[in-house]
Amino acid sequence: MSGYFKDIYAGISTALVGMRITWNHLFVKNVTIQYPDEKHDIPERVRNRLYVNMDDCIGCDQCAKACPVNCITIETAKALPEEELGETSTGNRKRLWVTQFDIDIAKCCFCGLCVPPCPTECIFMTPVFEFSEYNREDLIYRFSTLTPEEAAEKTENAERAKAEAEAKKAAAAEAKKKAAAEKAAAEKAAPSEQAGGAPAADAPAAAAKDTAPKQDDAPKQDDAPKQDDAPKQDDAPKQDDAPKQDDAPAADAASTTDNNG
C-alpha cells in the first residue's frame, strides 16, 4: 500500500521536475542559426571550392598530377617565340598557353593536395561552400581564359611549330649524316682535302644546336628553382619546409576569396 502512494508521489513529483525544466527552457536563448540569412563563422584555412587564378598559371600540370581523384584536366600549347605571355606575380615567365584547365568539382575530394605543388600559388581552396547545381555538367569549372577558337588556334600554332622544328631537326640530322658521309668519303678519297670539307659539315651542326633548347619543355627550364620546392616534401630531411608551403596558399586563399565573393 505504501508502494502505491509512493508511486503516485513519484509520478507527480517527477512530472513536475520535467515541467520545470521545459519552463526554464522557454526563456533560454535559442540556438538556431537562420541559415541563408545568417551563417556559421567558417574556420580559416577551410578547404572548399577550388579556384584558379589564371593570371598566374603557367600550365605546369603539377596540380593535376597531385590530384588523387584526377579531377583536374590541363591542356597546354607552347607559345610561339614571338608571342609574349607576360610574367606571373611571382616573377615566372609564362611560356605556355593554357588551352584547357577544367576542375570537376563534383569529383573533388577537397584534400587540398593540389595546392602545395603549385609553383606560382595560383590554385587554392576558397571558403565558398554553396555551389550546388541542378546539372552535374555545371560542376565542371572551366578556368581557361581562352575561347575555344583561340585555344584551337594556339594548339594548331604549337603543333605547326613543333612539326617545323622536327622537320628542321630531321633536316639537320640528315645534313649531319650527309656531311659525315661526305667527310668519310673525302677522308677515304684524299685526306689532304680535309680543309675544304669541314665548313660544309659545320653549318648543319650549328643549325641543330639552335633548335635544341626550343625542343625542351619551356616551363621545366624556367621553373627549375621552383620545381625543386615541390619534391622537398618527399625528401625526409627537408620536410620541415613542407608545412610552410602549406600555409602560404591557404592564407592567400583566405585573402583572395573576399574578392571572388
Binding site: G18, M19, I21, T22, W23, H25, L26, T32
Partner: protein, 369 residues
Amino acid sequence: MESLLQSLLGDNLLTVVLYCALPLVFILLYALLAILGEVKISAWMQDRLGPMRTGPWGIIQPIADVFKLLQKEDITPAKADKVLFNLAPFLSFMSAYAAFAVIPFSSQYVGADLNLGLFYLLAISSLNVAAIIMAGWASHNKYSLYGSMRAVAQIVSYEVPAAMVLVIIVMFVGSLNLQDIITAQSGPIWNWMVFGGPKQDVVLASGEVLSASWANLIFLPFFMASFVMYYIAGLAETNRTPFDIPEAESELVSGYHTEYSGMKFAMFFMSEYANMFLVSAVVAVLFFGGWNSPFGVYLGDAFGAPWLVAVEQFGWLAIKGLFFVFVMIWVRWTLPRLRVDQLMYMSWKVLIPFSFGIALVVGFLVVIL
C-alpha cells in the same frame, strides 16, 4: 445577446444561425492561435525558433497550413467503408462543436442555457468516441483500427473519473447548470472552487440560495485534487500527450486518422484543438470561476457600460481557457508517452478510487455543513 442580435438583424432565422455560429468563429480563430502556439512553444522549449519564414516571426504559419490542407487531395482508400469514412471527421468535429453550446462565454452569452448543462456536456463529448471508432474501422487499416481501439479504451476509462469529479462539483453547487456553477463562484478570487468555493451566500439564477461561509475552506484540498484529476482525465480524453497512445506516431503511424488527408484530416485536427479548449474551458468554469473576474469587479461596472462587462467576462474565460491550453502544450512537450498498461493503471487504480473517495468525503461535508 440573442435579443441584441435580433434587434440588430430583425430576422429570426438569421439571428439563430448567427447566434449558433459565434462559437464556430471563436473555435476557428482559437485553432489558428493554438496551432501557432503549439509550434512556437514547442520550439522555444527546445531552444529553437519555430517557423520564421511565413510573415514576421512566422505568425502567418497556421494560415499557410490551412491553405495547404485545403489544397491537398482528398483521398478515400479503395477498401474503406466510404460512408463511415467520410462521416467520421464531421461527426468528430460536430461532437466538439456541439459541446460548445453549453459553455458560458459570458453572463450574456451561452449557446444553450441548459439546466442539464454538465450532463449534456458529458453525453455529447462522448460522441467523439463513436467518431473515432468509425474512422478507425472504416479506414480498413490495421494502424487505424489499433489506434481507434486504444482511443476508445482510453476515453471510456477516463470518462469515469471525469464524471465523478463533475459529480463532486454538482453535489456542492446543487445544480447541473454551468451558469449556476459560475454564479456560485462570483466575487473575488478566493470564491473559486479550486480555493474551496464561495465564502458567502450566493443567490442562483433559479432563486435558490447557496448558503456558504468561510468554513468552505475545508473543501480546498478536495477541490484542488479534483481539479488535478479532472485535468488529467481531460488530457486523456483529448488524446493529448502523455496520453496520445491512440495516435502514437512511433507505433501506429498516426492512429485513427492515418488514412485521412486534406480537409477531412483538418476536421480531426480542428476537433482535437476544439476539444482541448473545451476541456480547458470546463476546468475554468468548474474550478476557476468561469467568466468571473479574479478581482470580483469589472471595468464595465465602473464606467456604467453593461456591454463592456460582457466583453470582459468573455475575455476572462478566454484567458483562463487559453492558459490551460498552454499548460496542455507545456505538458505535451515535457512528458513522454505512457504505456497502455500505465495508462489503464492510472485511470482505474489511481484516479477512479481517489475521485470516489473525494466524492464520498465531499458528500458528507456538504450534508454536514
